[in-house]
């Protein structure tokens, strides 16, 4: 008897195990490959923010009366990693990419994987949109993504330092002026000298402000792309960067300084002038509210348009932001474009600026009275956006940008005589497939 009971138990246990395994396998299969919750669910791949995009998704879902529902899915924190993930998913034909938040420099590379923008959507979403943001969403004269918000850098300064240096900040200033002022006051400049995307942003802004362009024919195939860094504009950009590096005007942390590190420096006692995005304002206000920063610092902060390279030529500030793309493999491209239209509405852009600090691409949104309260520098941002210059709009932007980062950082090793030429040779060789990056 005991033997047979043992056998029975064993059989029972085995049956139990089989049931558990079956349920587990079933759950796994269902979660992995099952159909989506409903057919009108759209997935929006968003870059990390302070929750603004998720809030817009909820609002648009509610306003759609059940026609669609938007779920957000978070992308990695830096732009390069966002591109990597999107490119891999798009190339693999992932149909979950209904809506994507795209960094403008990567639009040309991914344009082939995006669903064409319907004419009515294009007409409705481009009215009153700043020039630079439109250029960033365009590839080969066709709108391939919808401008959402537009970012730009402005010049932030400590009023006490500018005053002590005798600098008149009511008119645009030049790089040489703020470099001299920082030196005379023994303070540090807040610029981004790290070997990262921010370095290309800086180089591009300097070259464009000096009347040049990094790439002259961005739409050409890889082996025919030509760079124009060996020029007066390229050499002038190199001179400014190398002077700041060699004379230590950017402080000891310059070679690893990104936008956040620049802000830390600017808020410290060594702070003087800083080129940076509008996020610094809510960040500084937040730090004062949280009690981690003295209110006197906040009261000492002023702002102006991005510094010029030549005093008689207006500056071309950096341009960033986010465009919305719809995946070509999406099951619901029409629905996705309907949702995109809701997302980029003037009200949503204004709300996003107020809550998250990301400026609208639509000039009409700046009329919202809440903006003047939270962002007293909004008019400067809007003006800066009108003159801002996009980074090279080429499908090989990653190669161009990484090449510049490798040769223009650290700033102290930049040489106006050799760096423009070296980087031109290097990037051209990489694009021709002759060199590793």
């Amino acid at each position: 008897m005991p033997t047979s009971r043992r056998t029975q138990n064993a059989v029972k246990n085995r049956r139990h195990a089989a049931v558990v395994a079956g349920v587990l396998a079933g759950t796994l299969l269902m979660s992995g490959c099952g159909p989506a919750a409903s057919d009108n669910t759209l997935t929006w791949y968003i870059n990390p923010d302070a929750g603004g995009q998720a809030a817009i998704a909820e609002r648009c879902t509610a306003e759609s009366d059940g026609r669609y529902s938007i779920e957000t899915s978070l992308l990695p924190s830096d732009a390069a990693s966002q591109r990597e993930q999107l490119a891999r998913r798009l190339a693999a034909g992932d149909s979950s990419l209904d809506i994507m938040s795209l960094d403008p420099p990567f639009v040309p590379e991914l344009a082939g994987f995006l669903a064409p923008v319907p004419d009515d959507v294009a007409a409705a979403t481009t009215e009153n949109v700043v020039e630079g943001a439109l250029a960033g969403a365009t590839w080969r004269d066709e709108l391939v993504a919808v401008p959402f918000w537009a970012n730009t850098q402005i010049l932030w300064y400590r009023e006490s330092v500018a005053e002590a240096a005798g600098l008149d900040m009511s008119a645009p200033v030049t790089w040489d002026q703020i470099m001299d002022a920082a030196e005379s006051q023994d303070k540090d400049l807040g610029v981004q000298g790290a070997q990262a995307e921010s370095m290309t942003v800086w180089v591009n802004a300097l070259v464009e402000s000096a009347g040049g362009s990094i790439v002259t024919n961005p739409e050409a195939p890889a082996d025919e792309i030509e760079l124009d860094l060996v020029s007066d504009a390229g050499r002038e950009a190199a001179r400014i960067i190398s002077t700041i590096g060699e004379e230590g005007l950017g402080g000891p942390g310059l070679a690893t300084q990104n936008e956040n590190a620049s802000l830390d420096l600017f808020q410290s006692d060594a702070g003087s002038f800083m080129v940076n995005y509008p996020f610094v304002w809510p960040a500084t206000v937040g730090a004062v509210d949280a009690g981690t920063l003295d209110e006197a610092v906040l009261d000492d902060i002023g702002w102006s348009i991005y510094p010029r390279v030549y005093d008689d030529e207006s500056a071309a500030a950096p341009l960033g932001g986010i465009d919305l793309g719809v995946g070509a493999e999406s099951d619901n491209p029409e629905l996705a474009y309907e949702a995109v239209q809701c997302i980029v509405s003037v009200e949503n852009q204004a709300e996003y600026f107020v809550t998250n600090g990301n400026p609208p691409s639509n000039t009409e949104a700046y009329e919202d009275p809440r903006i003047a309260d939270s962002f007293p520098m909004a008019p400067v941002i809007r003006d800066s956006l009108q003159d801002a210059a996009p980074r090279p709009q080429t499908p090989f932007y990653n190669e161009v940008s990484t090449g510049i980062q490798q040769l223009w950082a650290p700033p102290s090793e930049v040489d106006p005589e050799t760096t423009p030429e070296q980087s031109t040779d290097f990037i051209t060789a990489v694009l021709r497939g002759e060199r590793l990056l």
Binding site: R88, T256, P410, L436, L437
Partner: protein, 335 residues
């Protein structure tokens, strides 16, 4: 010395009641007999059946990607332009091997490998000795304490080390400013030397426990009788170490060195988090990542990966053939 070795323990794989079989272990002669007893054959069959599924899975997850990468490496192929895929033969390898970037990164990788393994070996040996000799009451606590760094995810430890040394958030500069060369303005990640120092220190901190565990296992296998006999003969501590203990755990040391060297050669996380390869700290794994993942140049990236794999094969080959590392060896100091 070896004459004092007591008889080796019974072969742990054979059960006590098994009839003595004609297995290779029991016949130390050079030519192993090909004839097995009925029982040995059945055991071998069972062995294959048990290991078979794992073996097949191994082939699927390692051999297939290796073959695929080798195939892809013969093409010029950008993920975002699939229509322009073009066969280039060994062209990608030519580009890589004639590029100074490859050789610079190989040099950096080898430097990191040699220094970290050497330091880890010395530190790990000291820790193994401490663990081995520690009083029974504290042994458990001690082993756990030593193992903690190894239990931390590399990315997390890389961030911890990064923030400790970072010029904006770090405390190292203010804690150690009494040392020559360190002051509040030292930007560790702005030059090759200091950046590599932090990367290697983090790597050593994190993986020394692994090497000390392997060495502890080797140390435990050195019979106490040997060192006792040496002590009776009047050998000093250093002589015991040099002539009795280390020769008897040579196999464990070589296995530890080989495993760590292969790991160190494939270093990625620490560099990726701390410098992302900036300012001369790029290593080969990061170079492969940059080509295939960042540039989406699948062909070129695959070729870098294949070359990296060949380097790993060469290291293993050199270690196993030239230094005669016995991966299956449990008893050290045969020679």
């Amino acid at each position: 010395m070896t004459s004092a070795v007591p008889a080796p323990p019974a072969n742990p794989t054979s059960s006590p009641d098994s009839t003595p079989s004609v297995e290779t272990r029991s016949t130390p002669g050079k030519k192993a007999p090909k004839q097995y007893s009925e029982r040995a054959r059945a055991e071998r069959r069972l062995g294959w059946l048990l290991a078979g599924p794992a073996f097949v899975v191994m082939l699927l997850v390692t051999l297939y990607p290796i073959l695929q990468a080798t195939y892809e490496s013969l093409f010029q192929f950008r993920l975002t332009a699939p229509d322009e895929r073009q066969f280039v033969g060994l062209g990608n390898y030519g580009v890589i091997l004639t590029d100074s970037v490859w050789w610079r990164d190989l040099g950096t990788t080898l430097l990191i490998t040699v220094i970290t393994v050497a330091v880890e070996l010395v530190l790990g040996f000291a820790l193994a000795l401490v663990m081995n000799k520690a009083l029974k009451s504290v042994r458990g606590v001690l082993r756990t304490a030593i193992l903690v760094p190894y239990g931390i995810i590399t990315v997390v430890s890389a961030f911890a080390w990064f923030y400790a040394f970072d010029i904006n958030s770090g405390y190292v500069n203010s804690w150690f400013d009494w040392l020559p060369g360190i002051d509040e303005n030292l930007n560790w990640f702005a030059q090759t030397g200091t950046a590599l120092f932090v990367i290697m220190a983090s790597e050593i901190w994190k993986t020394t426990p692994f090497i000390s565990l392997l060495l502890l296992a080797g140390l435990a296998q050195v019979p106490d009788e040997l060192s006792e006999a040496a002590k009776v003969d009047g050998a000093t501590w250093w002589e015991q170490m040099r002539k009795v203990i280390i020769p008897n755990m040579k196999a464990a040391i070589m296995v530890a060195v080989l495993f760590r060297a292969l790991d160190a050669f494939r270093i990625f996380d620490n560099v990726f988090i701390m410098t992302n390869g900036a300012y001369g700290t790029e290593v080969l794994s990061l170079l492969a990542y940059r080509q295939s993942i960042s540039r989406l140049e699948i062909g070129l990236g695959s070729a870098v990966s294949v070359l990296l794999f060949l380097c790993v094969l060469i290291i293993s080959f050199v270690a196993i053939k030239l230094f005669k590392v016995d991966l299956a060896g449990t008893q050290g100091g045969k020679g």
